[in-house]
Amino acid sequence: MIGNLVGVLFDGIAYGSLLFLISVGLSVTMGMMNFINLAHGAFAMVGGYVCVTLLSKLGLPFLATLPLAFIVAALAGLVLERLLYRRLYRAPHLDQVLFSIGLTFMAVAGATWLFGPTQQPVNLPDWLRGQVHVLGLDLGAYRLFLIGVVVLVTAALVLLIERTRFGARIRAAVDNQTAAEGLGINVSRVFSLTFALGSGLAGLGGGLGIDVLGLDPSFPVKYMVYFLLVVAVGGAGSIKGPLIAALILGVFDVAGKYYVPEVGAFVIYTLMVVLLILFPFGLVRRKA
């Protein structure tokens, strides 16, 4: 029972860290540009398909496909931001919602056309399969790897935002656009780069997540609610909030599916409604 509990906790943390990796970009863009982007999952899907294609068609090693998933998704994000998203930063939320639902539908139909409606298989290298013994516990090697990657990425992200000049610009733009612009910061370029970074992280998460979340054309719709949830519960515009929220949601979702499978996804939706009622502005509220 205790071993069980630790196992569920571990799987939940792995799942939650994956959710965090995909959603963190959404949190930053939402906090920064006040843009409700329902199409964020589509960038994750792009990363996933890049991984699968490179693995099966070109036979690249799994680790080598991940940076490429990041780059392709980031480029897609950059192009779309420059061409389309920026026109809607000042639009009403409804317009943003509709626009991003439209993009999502197009991404779903496009993926169906290119790759077919079926689940994509992923061949993990041998050293990522099976179990690893840690302190007398059997832990999934891949999930351990997943947690490791997310810890590294999060550390890099915190360093980037807290310690670099670019990070300072991002923080300034989130806090007060007008003042940041007045100080000579090219806010529109910061927006573009941040959007690309967020999309790239989603792509990386999508590639990493094939084994956990699966990958088929309905991916952006199926997990949309989870990504939004992480941001809405965690509070937009920060890194800490979504991290906490993603871990809570991950653990509860896995525990719910493990202990009360007959209730299924109910656990997570109930949790979401309760958390939103208790914290209408998110767990960590950014002070502007």
Binding site: M30, N34, I36, L84, R87, L88, R90, A91, P92, H93, L94, D95, V97, L98, F99, I101, G102, L103, T104, F105, M106, A107, V108, A109, G110, T112, W113, V221, V225, L228, L229, A232, A236, E262, V263, G264, A265, F266, Y269, T270, M272, V273, L276, I277, P280, F281
Partner: protein
């Protein structure tokens, strides 16, 4: 956030052209009467497509209910199908368990959906756009999951069958060609439209528009914003329930998809396609959408979703206000002296 003066509801009737402020005038205009003759014309012109026309009217009613919530009260909802499905299951379960009388079934559906909408409205009104979006989405998904898991009541994925809708008023059988269904749907749609038309032109409806245009100013003139939004949401939910019940009674089947997210999203698309905040937009949008869906998905179902996505992006970028908004602008450009309004 958008500045308070700016319109927050997209496609809100363009008031910039109307230089003289005016109170809504609820007298029926000739164009409206012509509009309501269209279904009757359709009855004679397309006797083979009565089922499609009935579906359009039912979905149009559903879109009307969202127009009240979104177009007038300005509440962004991604889970309106919850109420549609709730109404459909209410009517369906009543009928499957022996209570097949249709009109009382509608009232029951309205009651159940309305009560649920009232309870939910407390949660919805609390937050801002993002939280509202999430709460409506979450509640929609919760109901879907509940219906899915409670297969012993709802039939789960297979849908609820075994319904037997009794003849309307004890005389008109629901036939295979959908003749009774046609007049029944038209009647209910028209009655509820007249009701909604009255609501949006009443002081209550005006206060909703006031809240939509500048929520911070309305408390200053003594409006209880939350209470009005709750009322609008509850009415919208009840009408969505009636639409669901109509669909269940006329097709004698309730599927899980009546609760699903795609239905909520499609509904939003229809509404913005027609134009929000003008009632007729909901009906025009539903008609255009359903006819296009019938036509295009007959050609190639896989690409339907792509075109719908493209259409949405284009509407948002270039055609705010939808079909009716575009027509209004066109009419105003042609006749700069006279003001033309549809609703």
């Amino acid at each position: 956030m958008t500045p308070p003066l700016e319109s927050t509801g997209r496609g809100a009737p363009d008031t910039s052209v109307a230089t003289v402020p005016h109170l809504p005038n609820d007298r029926w205009k000739p164009l409206e009467i012509v509009f309501w003759l269209l279904p009757v014309v359709a009855w004679f012109l397309f006797p083979d497509h009565l089922v499609l026309v009935s579906q359009i009217m039912i979905v149009g009613l559903f879109a009307l209910s969202l127009d009240l919530v979104l177009g007038y009260a300005g509440i962004v909802s991604l889970g309106h199908a919850a109420f549609f499905g709730l109404g459909a299951y209410t009517a369906g379960l009543l009928s499957a368990h022996g209570w097949g009388e249709p009109v009382s079934g509608l009232f029951a559906a309205a009651l159940v959906a309305g009560v649920f909408g009232f309870v939910v409205s407390f949660l919805v009104v609390r937050g801002q756009d993002l939280a509202r979006l999430m709460v409506t989405l979450g509640i929609g998904l919760m109901l879907f999951e509940a219906a899915n898991k409670a297969a012993f009541i709802t039939g789960g994925v297979d849908g609820l069958s075994g319904m037997a809708t009794a003849p309307l008023f004890g005389t008109f059988e629901f036939d295979l060609y959908g003749k009774t269904a046609f007049w029944y749907s038209l009647g209910v749609l028209f009655l509820l439209f007249v009701f909604l038309r009255g609501v949006v032109n009443s002081p209550f409806g005006l206060s909703l528009r006031g809240i939509r245009e500048g929520g911070k100013r309305m408390p200053a003139i003594g409006t209880n914003v939350d209470r009005r939004l709750r009322a609008a949401y509850t009415v919208g939910a009840a009408i969505a329930g009636v639409a669901g019940a109509l669909l269940a009674q006329t097709t004698q089947f309730v599927g899980l998809d009546s609760l699903g997210f795609p239905r909520s999203a499609e509904l939003l698309i229809m509404l913005v396609l027609g134009g929000t905040g003008r009632l007729y937009g909901a009906l025009v949008g539903a008609a255009v959408f359903m006819v296009a869906q019938d036509y295009i998905s007959g050609l190639d179902p896989a690409y339907w979703q792509f075109y719908i996505g493209l259409l949405l992006v284009l509407i948002v970028l270039f055609a705010r206000g939808g079909i009716l908004g575009g027509l209004e602008k066109l009419v105003q450009r042609l006749k700069p002296s006279t003001r033309k309004e549809v609703a």
